[in-house]
C-alpha cells in the first residue's frame, strides 16, 4: 500500500537505526553542492539533477506534473490509512484486559491520528487541501490500505496488528524516509521514530498471550493465522502486476520493489515467530540456502483485489464509521468557525476604537 523502497546501505541498529541514517543522509545531501546551484532555464534538468544528487525536492520547486500527482495520491492514501487504521484497534480500547494495556492502546491509536495529520500536512504542500483529500476518501475516490478492512475479533488481534501489520508498514515506511520529496521524507522520519513502540507493544502482547493460559495461546495463534496473509498482501501486487512501480523508482519515491520488501518482511518474521512460540500458517515456509532467503506461499492476490475494490469484510463498516464521525461533527466545526469569525470582528472593532 505504501510506497516501497530501501536505504542503499545497511545501517546499524535495526529499523530505528535506518531511520536515523536516513535523517543523517538528508542533512548530508543538503550540505553537498551540485554543479548548478540554482535552477537555470532547463527546469526539468534541474529537477533531475536534484533527484540524482539524492537531495530533496521542496514544495515550490518545479516538478513534473505526474510526480506531483503520484505524490499526492500516495501521501493521501498513506494519511487515509492512518486515519482508517485507527478503527480496528480502537475497537478494543474499551475492552483492553488491563489498565496498562488500555493506556498503551489508547496512546497508540492517538499516535495514528497524529501520523495521519502529519501526512495530510505533507500532502498539502503539493497544492491540495486536506478538506479536498478528506472528501476524496469519504466519496470513495481515494483508497486506504486494504489491511484495515479485516475485522479485529479478539484481544490478540491488537497484538497481531502491532507485530505483523505495523511490522509490514515499517518495512514499507523506513525506506520512505529517503523519498526524494522533502516534506514526505521528513514526515516519515517523524512517523517512524514514533512508531518504534507500536510494533514492540504488539509483539509483547502476543508474547504474553503465547506464554499464558491455553486459551490465551490459542487466541494468539488464531490471530496470527488470520493476519499473516493479509499482512503479506500489504506490500501490494507482485512486481509483474504493479502499475506504478517503475516510474516511482526512477523518481526515487520508491527504490525497492513490492516483492523485495515482502521477502524482507518474511525473513524478519520467521525468527520472531519462533521466539513467540507461534506458528506462521504456511506449510511451504522453509529456508532456501541458494537464495539466502525463505521460500513462502504468496498471499491470495485475487482476495487482495476484491478487498481493494470494496468487498472486504469491513470496507463498508470502516467508511460508514468515518463518514458518520465527519457528518456528526459538522455542527461543531461550524460553531468553531462562527465563533472565530465573531471574535475577529470584535478584535477589529477594538482596534478601530
Amino acid at each position: 500500500m505504501y510506497g516501497n523502497d530501501f536505504p542503499g546501505e545497511d545501517a546499524p541498529g535495526g529499523l530505528l537505526g535506518e531511520v536515523e541514517a536516513a535523517e543523517a543522509a538528508l542533512r548530508a545531501a543538503a550540505e553537498r553542492g551540485r554543479a548548478a546551484a540554482e535552477p537555470g532555464s532547463d527546469l526539468a534538468a534541474y529537477f533531475a539533477e536534484v533527484v540524482d544528487a539524492d537531495q530533496k525536492i521542496e514544495p515550490r520547486d518545479w516538478m513534473p506534473e505526474a510526480y506531483r500527482r503520484t505524490l499526492i495520491r500516495q501521501i493521501a492514501q498513506h494519511a487515509h490509512s492512518e486515519i482508517i487504521g485507527m478503527q480496528p484497534e480502537g475497537n478494543w480500547i474499551s475492552r483492553a484486559p488491563s489498565l496498562k494495556r488500555k493506556a498503551i492502546l489508547l496512546a497508540k491509536v492517538q499516535d495514528e491520528a497524529g501520523h495521519g495529520l502529519y501526512l495530510y500536512a505533507a500532502a498539502e504542500t503539493l497544492g491540495v487541501s486536506r478538506d479536498e483529500l478528506v472528501d476524496l476518501l469519504l466519496d470513495g475516490r481515494q483508497k486506504y490500505s486494504s489491511i484495515f478492512n479485516y475485522p479485529t475479533l479478539s484481544w490478540a488481534d491488537v497484538g497481531a496488528i502491532g507485530w505483523l501489520v505495523d511490522g509490514a508498514a515499517i518495512v514499507n515506511q523506513v525506506p520512505l524516509c529517503r523519498c526524494s520529496y522533502g516534506p514526505y521524507a521528513r514526515a516519515m522520519i517523524r512517523v517512524c521514530k514514533e512508531e518504534s513502540f507500536h510494533q514492540r507493544q504488539g509483539y509483547e502482547i502476543l508474547h504474553t498471550l503465547a506464554h499464558g493460559t491455553a486459551a490465551q495461546k490459542a487466541m494468539a495463534q488464531d490471530s496470527v493465522d488470520r493476519w499473516w496473509y493479509p499482512s503479506l498482501a500489504m506490500f501490494g501486487p507482485p512486481d509483474g502486476d504493479s502499475t506504478h512501480s517503475a516510474q516511482s523508482m526512477a523518481w526515487k519515491i520508491k527504490r525497492f520493489s513490492n516483492d523485495e520488501l515482502r521477502q524482507r518482511f518474511v525473513d524478519m518474521c520467521v525468527g520472531q515467530a519462533e521466539a513467540l512460540g507461534l506458528r506462521l500458517p504456511d506449510p511451504e515456509l522453509r529456508w532456501n540456502d541458494e537464495r539466502q532467503a525463505y521460500d513462502f506461499t504468496q498471499p491470495d492476490y485475487d482476495e487482495l483485489m476484491r478487498v481493494i475494490k470494496g468487498n472486504g469484510p469491513c470496507n463498508r463498516q470502516r467508511m460508514e464509521h468515518r463518514r458518520r464521525a465527519h457528518s456528526e461533527g459538522a455542527w461543531v466545526r461550524e460553531a468553531a468557525a462562527a465563533y472565530a469569525a465573531k471574535r475577529a470582528v470584535k478584535e477589529k472593532e477594538k482596534v478601530a476604537a
Binding site: 521542496e58 521528513r186 466545526r333
Partner: protein, 95 residues
C-alpha cells in the same frame, strides 16, 4: 460536500530552554487559541517542547526562491548552528 476551509497554521516549538523556536509542521484550526491547543496535543505528545508558537500560514512572507518549505525543519539540536531565523515559505499559503 461544501464547507469553509479551516485556516492553516505553522507551528514552532522550543525544544529546550536556550534553543530557538523551530518549525515542526502545520495544522488546521479555526482560531489562534485552538491552534495553540492543537499544536500542544499534536506536536508535543512526547514532551518535545517547552514553548509553542502558532502563526497563520497566510501571514508568512518567504524570501528564498529556492528553499521554500520549512515544513519539517532539521532537528532542533541543529538550531544553534544556524542562528538566523528559519524563513518559513509561503509555499503553503495558497492552500
Amino acid at each position: 460536500m461544501s464547507r469553509q476551509h479551516t485556516p492553516l497554521w505553522e507551528v514552532f516549538v522550543r525544544a529546550r530552554r536556550g534553543l530557538a523556536h523551530t518549525h515542526v509542521g502545520s495544522l488546521h484550526a479555526p482560531d489562534a487559541e485552538l491552534a495553540l491547543r492543537n499544536a500542544r496535543d499534536l506536536y508535543t505528545r512526547r514532551q518535545e517542547g517547552v514553548s509553542i508558537w502558532v502563526v497563520p500560514a497566510s501571514a508568512i512572507t518567504a524570501s528564498s526562491p529556492d528553499e521554500k518549505d520549512a515544513f519539517f525543519d532539521p532537528a532542533a539540536d541543529k538550531v544553534y548552528r544556524h542562528p538566523t531565523f528559519y524563513e518559513v515559505p509561503d509555499g503553503v499559503a495558497h492552500l
